[in-house]
């Protein structure tokens, strides 16, 4: 299975916006999640890029404790079974900008405040579209 990769935390700012770390739910700790891929993204000119094209995809994201931002499918897979992450949820990216953001992660269960922190983070890093849609997922 491929090892997920992402955008280095050195390229991002605003980690202090996350008021807490997210811990994997006890019942899932240590049990791998089957997954198919991570999305190899790069960042330049305040946009996300995949294969030298402005990114266009729907999927999951995690921000690791070291600040690395990863995209793909399956939060616990993307985090390589990390006990803690800074942020997790779902995104839609169009033309390299995040146009949709939610807090759906069965493993890390971010709440509405975590979602707000994530929204502020992506806005600060100029990765969010002007008309970013932020959606709280209850379950």
């Amino acid at each position: 299975m491929m090892t997920p990769s992402g955008i280095s935390g050195e390229l991002l700012t605003g980690f202090e916006l996350f008021r807490r770390q997210l811990r994997v739910a006890d019942m899932y700790r240590g049990n791998p999640q089957r997954q198919a891929y991570s999305t190899a993204c790069t960042m330049r000119e305040n946009r996300l890029w995949v294969d030298n094209q402005p990114a266009d995809f729907d999927g999951d994201y995690v921000i690791l404790i070291n600040g690395e931002l990863r995209f793909g499918r399956g939060h616990y897979f993307l985090s390589e079974m990390a006990e803690f992450v800074l942020s997790a949820g779902g995104v839609t990216v169009i033309d390299g900008k995040i146009v949709y953001l939610d807090n759906e992660s069965g493993h890390y269960r971010p709440d509405i405040e975590d979602l707000k922190d994530a929204s502020a983070f992506f806005i600060q890093n100029q990765l969010a579209a002007d008309d970013l849609m932020v959606c709280e997922v209850v379950f």
Binding site: Y28, Q35, A36, D58, G74, T92, M133, V137, V138, F139
Partner: protein, 156 residues
């Protein structure tokens, strides 16, 4: 049927060829096999991938009775809570199902559909709409999924 192998095959198709029809696969599955597949995929993959599986195989899913859904959950011995979480998320995000009697029948006592958004609030959700489009679901199929209702068996 090798569940792990079949699940991998199906998920690979959904992820890499989402518009590809699944009727050929679906028609060869017995109900028992489909329940086994649901159980495996929801707990081992779950999340958005689990939802896409249920969307793509909605014709089989909507025929499951509540009793069969319970059986599916009982078969989740790896990550039951995660599988159930994925299942409930599917109902909330893609259907109009908001019947707490379903939750109780499935043994879910710590959640209520009363906290879920009203179904029509989801029609403007970019991610959900793109998912439905990517999977090449027709308007009729989307309506069928939205309007699905739990099948409670009547004990005579």
């Amino acid at each position: 049927m090798n569940i792990e192998k079949k699940s991998t095959e199906i998920i690979e198709q959904i992820l890499h060829q989402p518009a590809e029809p699944v009727a050929n696969i679906e028609s060869k599955l017995s109900k028992v096999q489909f329940v086994e597949l649901c159980s495996y995929i929801l707990q081992y993959y779950g999340g958005r991938t689990g939802h896409e599986f249920l969307l793509k195989f909605h014709r089989s899913f909507i025929k499951l009775t509540v009793s069969e859904l319970r059986e599916m959950i009982n078969e989740m011995t790896y990550k039951k809570e995660f599988g159930v979480h994925t299942l409930l998320g599917f109902y909330v995000q893609y259907t109009y199902v908001r019947d707490d009697e379903l939750l109780h029948s499935l043994g879910v006592t710590d959640k209520s559909f009363s906290t879920a958004p009203k179904p029509d609030a989801l029609t403007d959700n970019i991610l959900l709409n793109r998912t439905l489009k990517k999977l090449a679901l027709s308007d009729e199929e989307i309506d069928t999924i939205r309007c699905m209702k739990p099948i409670f068996e009547v004990v005579v």
